[in-house]
């Protein structure tokens, strides 16, 4: 295995082992603090444009399998680890991570001081970075990193959204909803409703694919919805013509302000159909409400962020993956209420419209990876769609 360089725009250079594809990669460097779930992270389309550094030092221990994917392929630009496991040890493992990374052309590095890297990002904020598997003068490489395009203002959604509308489940995918082997118990407890395959008379949920994670689709399907997935640029008219009972605005990569067409579509859908925004979808809603988004210093990427529901004061441990956030001061208070906040830094984690049946969450109720604490929110959204009532009337 050869050497590889990881170089940050500020001139920080780390040398390690190349453990993925040969070549080079550029992107915004972010760190993720989840201790499990690297496969879900790799395949999450929201990471388009980003190089991900895992803070947990042993990665790849349980290999990869084709059940735990969040989309059809890995999307990260590059992958940074302290130590890649030489072995995949799990009864579901089909392949070691290294082979998977190579097969999918992902540049990866291990043997570097990921904690120092994390400290650097924490202190300096998000930085552009480049990864190079060939040996070269790091000063030359650094110049190339500095010249790489910035993620700010870039529309990455077009790079990850589907080309054609389709119905979920896709063949061979999503029939097995992750983490639901023991669902009968949860059903018995009343935590989730009885799952059933989506039939003709079941609620139809249209998902706007800004880079959707499959587990959003799996969750909806397991709750008995017919799920259709729409390219990000689909028009409101086309979506409404499919007579959805609700629309989910999915997660996705990059700067929400760059997805102007999406914001426009959302404006047209408002008031026409109940909506649930997740992550980027939530930020797009914020913009559609007339608010603004801003870039966090180094974002939230991990599976341990506490989010509090302001009305119940109940706390959920959540999965997070975002660099942008809605600025609550810019959102019209008379129309929109902030329902959830992040207890670590008080940023907005959830909103609801006071008139229309619209909920949105900055975090990931679909988890994958991460805790299942927020899954019930899909059920809450479905209640809105079936009754056509606003959350205010329901007193959610």
């Amino acid at each position: 295995m050869g050497n590889a360089w990881l170089i940050l725009e500020d001139g920080t250079a780390l040398q390690g082992r190349s453990v993925g594809a040969e070549g080079e990669a550029f992107g915004e460097l972010v760190f993720n603090t989840a201790m499990t779930g690297y496969q879900e992270i790799l395949t999450d389309p929201s990471y388009r444009g980003q190089i991900v550094c895992m803070t947990y030092p042993h990665i790849g221990n349980y290999g990869v399998n084709d059940e735990d994917v969040e989309s059809r392929r890995p999307w990260v630009e590059g992958f940074v680890m302290r130590q890649l496991s030489p072995i995949a040890s799990n009864f579901r493992a089909q392949e070691p991570l290294e082979a998977y990374l190579k097969r999918h052309g992902i540049v990866a590095i291990d043997g570097v001081d990921t904690r120092q890297l994390t400290l650097t990002l924490r202190q300096r904020g998000c930085l552009k970075a480049g990864m190079f598997t060939r040996d070269a003068d790091p000063r030359e490489l650094w110049k190339r990193v500095q010249a790489a395009p910035d993620i700010m203002g870039r529309d990455l959604v077009t790079e990850v959204t589907c080309e054609q509308p389709y119905e979920w489940p896709l063949e061979g995918q999503g029939t097995r909803d992750r983490g639901h082997e023991q669902d009968t118990r949860r059903i018995n407890e009343g935590i989730i409703p009885v799952p059933r395959p989506g039939g003709r008379n079941d609620p139809h949920i249209a998902v706007m694919d800004f880079g959707v994670k499959h587990n959003i689709l799996r969750q909806l399907a397991s709750l008995g919805c017919r799920v259709s997935v729409w390219p990000a640029a689909s028009s409101a008219k086309a979506i409404l013509a499919s007579k959805p009972d609700g629309v989910v605005l999915s997660n996705g990569p990059g700067d929400p302000a760059a997805v102007t067409y999406g914001i426009e579509t959302i404006r047209r859908l408002m008031g026409q159909v109940p909506m649930l925004g997740i992550c980027l979808g939530h930020q797009l809603l914020g913009l559609a409400y007339g608010g603004q988004t801003f870039k966090l210093k180094f974002g939230h990427h991990g599976g341990n962020h506490p989010v509090q529901d302001r009305t119940t004061r109940q706390v959920e441990i959540t999965t997070q993956n975002h660099n942008f956030a809605v600025d609550p001061k810019t959102v019209p208070q008379q129309d929109v209420e902030v329902t959830h906040i992040n207890l670590n830094d008080d940023t907005v984690e959830g909103m609801r419209h006071r008139t229309f049946p619209i909920l949105s969450l900055q975090y990931h109720p679909e988890a994958a990876p991460g805790p299942h604490d927020a899954r019930y929110l899909f059920g809450r959204f479905l209640e809105l769609t079936s009754r056509g009532q606003t959350p205010v009337e329901k007193g959610v």
Binding site: I7, D10, G11, T12, A13, L14, Q15, G16, F31, M35, T36, G37, Q39, T55, Y56, P57, H58, N61, Y62, N65, D68, R82, S85, P86, I87, S89, N90, F91, R92, G111, D113, R115, Q116, L117, T118, L119, T120, R122, Q123, R139, W142, G179, E181, Q182, R185, E189, G303, N304, H305, P306, Q308, R313, Q314, V315, I317, L343, N344, A368, P371, H372
Partner: protein
């Protein structure tokens, strides 16, 4: 929800003496709880019988009862104190059990005491197997199928339901012996039959076998708003079948996909809700089938536990402290994360390092014990290590274990066949045997089949072996590198090899061996080549937020290159700037028999004393159970192995003004020489004094100069020499190795044959140093004296008279303070001798001297110029924190300035009794000797000796009956003495039963004693009587050093059935005094603060 204002006074129950499975971790949790609740303004009433705890320090709680943890005693305390609430979840199983008793007796209702944390029904749902199973099933979780059978046909029905393989365990056998795994009906019949025969109540349990399944634990916290968080996941390297306390474990879990982990997390949340633990921490154990992922719930502890202490240390999340705050009504979101201060406690810590915990065993002290690891815990301590890889953490852990390994070393080279057999049976040695097997070429798959250790761990081990081979081959390269100029390619390549080795946790000493140089050379290379440790923080959040708490571990990282800027300080190797006086304290490492909580207590006191004076305290220790490794205890905590390499690295970084080595037991003392040679200033008594005390010749000279006597003695380096010395001093004599603690391999021998037998063991333990041979003073009274000095003044801390006669290790002997049989003249002589010794040795700090008194002559047995095991006991008894005073003396504050210049002689009596692990080890004789075997201690305190003694017995779990039948069988020399005891027992209404010899002796003195057959004299014999429950107390002194088989049998049956068994005449006399005292007047309780008020502290 803010804290509750409707409760004001809270009762906390500790866990009592240190025993296997309940150690320092409950002092850690209890101390945290006391501090947390006091901080909130509650009045704290504490009960704990263990004087060696920090929690029983008089200032920790408002009122502290050092009394037995029994329902009787606590009922009296409740009656006197009238607490509003009882928090039962922080004192281990002991506190939980006694709480259930109090509840069932109606005491809690009667006095209106509310249980906070967990209610009775929740405790019962978690503790009762059947209720637990029902509860789990009600929320859709599975537990292993199981049942009990009292006959073969019942068992057969169970086998049908459960299927094969299944585990059969006889109920009620000593140490859980006699069970087995059945894979078919034939084996099943055989094991059940044997099990029923072995069980004292003819019962076996049959359980679905989960042996070899993967084992996990989750630490869960819940608040009263029903917020639940998982603090930590733990994966056992040793799969199901080995008690988690005996397993090597890692945090976080390594081999679960997110999907599996989250399912387990969901299950854990369901468990804590279904069991109904309202607030606080619980530990839930799971088994996962390696090939199907099937998840079973094994058990749940509705309280903090050893694992929660480990999880707290592993993550930086203080579970016990938070649990205490949740119990009084706070919710998780209202409490701050202590480490970051800015983020809330309502989150799940994430780690960017890996933690390995390794158990420490004491089989060498328990000859005859079965060293197979099973579901019953056998380890006596543990060490934890933190690294940025499993390999690094494992190697750090193994060198911190102090079992003579410098890291992961290979066990004995054995044939493949024998290795296979050994690997298939879990043992303390297995981790080392794995290396031998890998070196012998065994494959990962074969090792997996033999051990069921997950292949991920095995592969890590395999890679370590590969790397080590490469390192060995790199020897010429390293030498070339040492010659090469800095900046050259040869130099860079050599440094890279060294760095790689260090990243995998190799110690300098291991590398020195591989490269044929000495340890100092490797260290020199590392410094010259800049291969230096990076110190990273345990920060709960993988560096996402800034940590305010300096809790460090070392690792080795690939340095970051700065192309266009200068690397800032703080991240890695920049030494922290000194702003005030700094002192470093070395802890004691893993608990073991002979070195446990008492030493941690002293280290913690040292930290408290220095912080009170505004000095900066740096603590170094590797024991996750302790208060010393609470990041709150010191200003900076380094969670590191206590080896010369690791300590020097920290010293180089911190540059404190001095290092304290005299509080952590033998561990830091053993480092003292190396540290001094490396130029590290050691505080207190000079190192030379340690040498004089340990060196036989120098010590003899010193005593001669001081005009003090010692028993005739000599030293030997071979068995032959030992024999010569023995003949010179005369039998019986005492053999003891140098530089060991806890009387390791110490024996009293009566003739040449015994000498030959035991000398070998002593030479092994002595590791090349001479074995000391002393004339043994039979029937002498032994005395321990603790003293402290500041270079000018010497003050006696306490004089402790041993209750058992000479020959029993001071750590095992019961002791009383002040002495109850010594004349004032002898006491004065003891004081003078102690002062002379302290002055001659230049003691600054603590010192302990052991004396024997025979026929009014005082002999010095040994001197230890360091803190002794009795320091906390004495401190509690006299109400003076000796270790604090000693620390101040060591850092320049004289005893005079601290106003401690006169010995304190209490008017009440305090008895220290030891607690033994015998009930866990079948086949180990319970007779006491010069090798220490107790794991812990309790204190009984009262106004007269009898009551203080009986309290100590009750607290130690020796439940002396107040009526019934006593069986007496003593050796000839004791027959006269025992008649007096028997007479007093008869007067108390006991019926006497004795074997023929003893019975004759008793009859001769006009006592009625029913004779009974010895074991070989026909039936019914004494064993039948014992088994039938007709005997309630046994007084049995061993007939010789090599005890007779029938005596051993009687004693082990007594242990198994929990019948109190007294093995010394002195012990019997004291016990009878105690029984007489209770008969005269029942037991009362009194807080330690009230005793201390009786003392008049005089300053001169």
């Amino acid at each position: 929800m803010p804290k509750r204002t409707d409760i004001k006074k809270i009762l906390l129950i500790g866990s009592g003496p240190i025993v296997i499975s309940q150690a320092c971790e409950f002092d850690y949790s209890g101390t945290q709880a006391c501090k947390a609740l006091k901080e909130e303004g509650y009045t704290i009433v504490l009960v704990n019988s263990n004087p060696a705890t920090i929690m029983t320090d008089p200032e920790m709680a408002h009122t502290t009862y050092i009394e037995p943890i029994t329902a009787d005693a606590i009922e009296k305390i409740i009656e006197a104190e009238r607490p509003d609430a009882l928090l039962p979840t922080l004192g281990g199983q002991t506190a939980l059990n006694v709480t259930v008793q109090l509840g069932e007796r109606g005491v809690l209702d009667r006095f209106g005491v509310e249980l906070i944390g967990a209610k009775l029904d929740a405790i019962k749902r978690a503790e009762d197997r059947e209720l637990f199973k029902q509860t789990m099933e009600s929320v859709g979780l599975e537990v292993p199928r199981a049942g009990y059978a009292r006959a073969m046909d019942e068992a057969a029905v169970l086998a049908q339901e459960i299927g094969f393989p299944c585990v059969i365990r006889p109920s009620f056998t000593l140490g859980g012996t006699g069970g087995g795994v059945a894979y078919n009906a034939e084996e099943f019949q055989e094991i059940v039959k044997r099990g029923l025969d072995l069980s004292m109540i003819r019962e076996v349990s049959v359980e679905e076998s989960v042996i070899g399944w993967k084992e996990f634990e989750l630490e869960v916290m819940r608040d009263r708003a029903d917020n639940v968080v998982i603090v930590c996941s733990i994966e056992n390297v040793d799969p199901m079948g080995v008690h988690t306390g005996d397993s090597i474990t890692v945090a976080p879990a390594q081999t679960l996909t997110d999907r599996e982990y989250q399912d387990m997390r969901d299950a854990a949340i369901r468990v804590i809700r279904a069991i109904g633990v309202e607030t606080g921490g619980s530990n839930i154990q799971f088994a996962v089938h390696p090939d199907s992922g099937r998840l079973l719930v094994i058990e749940m502890n509705p309280r903090v536990s050893r694992s929660s202490a480990l999880a707290s240390k592993a993550t930086g999340f203080p579970i016990a402290k938070i649990a205490a705050k949740l119990a009084v009504g706070y919710t998780l979101d209202e409490l701050a994360n202590d480490i970051t201060k800015e983020t809330p406690a309502c989150f799940e810590p994430t780690l960017d390092y890996i933690v390995v915990k390794i158990p420490r065993f004491a089989f060498e002290k328990l000859p005859g014990a079965d060293p197979t690891l099973t579901i019953q815990m056998k380890s006596v301590g543990e060490t934890m290590a933190i690294g940025r890889s499993f390999a690094e953490a494992l190697q750090k852990g193994l060198r911190g274990l102090e079992v003579g390994k410098d890291g992961w070393e290979a066990g004995e080279r054995l044939s493949l066949d024998i290795l296979r057999q050994k690997l298939a049976v879990p043992s303390a040695e297995r981790i080392f045997q794995l290396k031998a097997a890998l070196l012998a070429g065994m494959s990962i798959d074969e090792l997996y089949q033999l051990t069921k250790i997950d292949r991920w761990f095995l592969r890590q081990l395999y890679d370590l072996v590969e790397l080590e081979q490469g390192l060995k081959a790199a020897q010429p390269q390293m030498r070339a590198c040492a010659q090469a100029s800095a900046g050259s390619e040869v130099h860079a390549a050599g440094a890279a090899v060294l760095r790689r080795a260090k990243q995998h946790g190799f110690s300098d000493r291991q590398l020195a061996r591989l490269w044929g140089v000495d340890e100092a050379m490797v260290r020199q290379w590392r410094v010259q080549w800049s291969v230096l440790p990076t110190y990273y923080l345990v920060d709960t959040c993988a560096a996402e937020f800034e940590a305010r708490t300096p809790y460090y571990y070392s690792t080795y990282e690939q340095p970051v290159i700065a192309l266009g800027w200068r690397l800032e300080a703080g991240g890695s190797n920049e030494p922290p700037r000194a702003t005030k006086r700094k002192v470093m304290i070395l802890g004691g490492g893993p608990n073991r028999i002979g070195q446990g909580i008492e030493f941690d207590y002293c280290c913690v006191h040292a930290a408290f004393a220095l912080r009170e004076r505004g000095l900066e305290v740096i603590m170094v220790n590797s024991n996750p159970e302790t208060v010393s490794t609470d990041y709150d205890t010191s200003d900076k905590l380094y969670f590191e192995p206590l080896t010369l390499e690791d300590v020097l690295n920290i010293y180089d970084r911190e540059r404190p003004e001095g290092v304290i080595v005299q509080f952590g037991g033998q561990t830091p003392i053993n480092l003292a020489d190396g540290l001094a040679k490396a130029g590290v200033p050691l505080l207190g008594t000079p190192v030379a004094a340690i040498d004089v005390a340990e060196d036989r010749e120098k010590f003899r000279q010193l005593l001669d100069e001081l005009g003090l006597r010692q028993p005739p003695s000599g030293t030997a380096l071979t068995v032959e020499e030992a024999k010569l010395v023995a003949h010179t001093v005369g039998y019986p004599c005492l053999l003891r190795p140098s530089y060991v603690l806890g009387g390791r391999a110490m024996e009293i021998v009566y003739d040449d044959e015994q000498l030959k037998h035991f000398a070998q063991r002593a030479f092994e333990a002595s590791q090349g140093f001479p074995v000391l041979i002393d004339k043994f003073l039979e029937d002498a009274i032994e005395v321990d004296v603790d003293a402290l000095g500041d270079g000018e003044t010497v003050v006696i801390g306490g004089i402790l008279e041993h209750i058992e006669e000479a020959g029993i290790h001071s750590g095992d002997s019961a002791m009383v303070l002040p002495p109850h049989t010594l004349t004032e003249k002898l006491m004065d002589e003891l004081r003078q001798a102690t002062k002379k010794l302290a002055q001659a040795l230049g003691v600054i700090g603590l010192m302990n001297v052991q004396y024997a008194i025979k026929e009014d002559t005082i002999y010095v047995l040994e001197v230890n110029p360091r803190a002794s095991r009795t320091v906390p006991f004495v401190s509690k008894a006299i109400g003076v924190p000796l270790a604090k005073l000693a620390t101040n003396a060591m850092t320049g504050v004289s005893l005079r300035a601290q106003q401690f210049t006169r010995e304190i002689e209490p008017t009440y009596l305090a008895v220290k009794e030891s607690v033994f692990p015998f009930s866990r080890f079948a086949g180990v004789d319970i007779i006491l000797g010069p090798e220490m075997r107790s794991t812990g201690e309790v204190m009984g305190i009262d106004e007269d000796f009898g009551r203080a003694f009986i309290k100590s017995q009750i607290a130690a779990g020796q439940l002396l009956p107040q009526a019934g039948t006593v069986f007496i069988s003593v050796k000839d020399r004791d027959k006269r003495a025992v008649t007096l005891v028997a007479r007093r027992l008869e007067a108390l209404g006991f019926e006497l039963v004795a074997t023929s010899g003893t019975a004759n002796a008793l009859h001769g003195h006009g006592l009625r004693a029913r004779p009974v057959n010895k074991v070989h004299e026909g039936r019914p014999n004494i064993l039948d009587l014992v088994k039938n429950g007709e005997i309630h107390l046994i007084i049995n002194t061993p007939s010789g050093r090599l005890p007779r088989a029938d005596e051993v049998q009687i004693r082990s049956v007594a242990v198994a059935l929990g019948i109190p068994c007294i093995t010394t005449i002195a012990g019997a006399q004291a016990s009878v005094s105690g029984l007489e005292a209770i008969k005269k007047q029942g037991l009362t309780v009194k807080p330690i603060q009230a005793y201390h008020e009786l003392l008049t502290h005089e300053s001169s």
